[in-house]
Amino acid sequence: MLILARKINESIIIGDQIEISIIDIKGDQAKIGIKAPKNVKVYRLEVYEAIQQENKAAAMAEPGSIPELELLKKNKQKK
């Protein structure tokens, strides 16, 4: 992994379209600003990984395993 030291308000650029800036640092937390093209999705890594992992677990479902569910009738799909 490439490691660069940056101060508040300094940035790095990745390729020619992705810009990452250090907005603020307080204690052990850094606030990071990211400029990237629309098609580049930026997520917190642990959230991204948790969802990916959950999807893999969900995809293991066996068709016979779905239980019947008795529901409240009044909660229709809302906006």
Partner: protein
């Protein structure tokens, strides 16, 4: 169109059931063509890959067990599939069913949103820390019932 499904073998589906996921689903990015079908067990649905029968997800309408659910995703994410008006969207949560079925969970942090008009879909990531990847469906449903009674 006839497709092979994980749950029901080869079935005939209507083109209106086809949903295109331009970004795939996290962890399954290369699969973009899916079909949305009712499961035989209510109120679940199957999101079935058109290309690989083994890839299929069980979905539920999250508002059924969490009437307070809100889709807290950035507007740009919705615009990725052309949603500018929430009237055009359908929201689902992916369900995980472990061996002990009563512990089945729904992923409210990574909802599946479908644009009804263009039939495109995307898995989004919620900004709201209230929504987790594992919500116990039966427990939360029971909590809602107790409130109503």
């Amino acid at each position: 169109m006839k497709i092979k499904t994980k749950a029901y073998g080869t079935v005939e589906v209507d083109e209106r059931q086809e949903i295109y996921f331009p970004y795939g689903i996290l962890g399954f990015e290369s699969f973009k063509h899916f079909v949305l079908m009712d499961a035989r067990e209510k109120p679940f649905y199957w999101l079935q890959s058109v290309d690989v029968p083994e890839i299929a997800f069980i979905l539920i309408n999250p508002y059924l067990f969490r009437p307070d659910y809100s889709l807290d995703v950035p507007g740009e994410e919705l615009e990725d599939i052309g949603i500018t008006d929430s009237e055009d969207s359908l929201v689902f949560a992916i369900v995980t069913i472990p061996e002990n079925q009563s512990k089945m969970t729904a992923n409210l942090q990574g909802p599946i949103v479908i644009n009804k008009k263009s039939r495109t879909g995307k898995q989004m990531i919620s900004d709201n820390p209230r929504w987790k990847v594992r919500h116990l469906i039966l427990e939360e449903l029971a909590a809602v019932r107790n409130e109503v009674c």
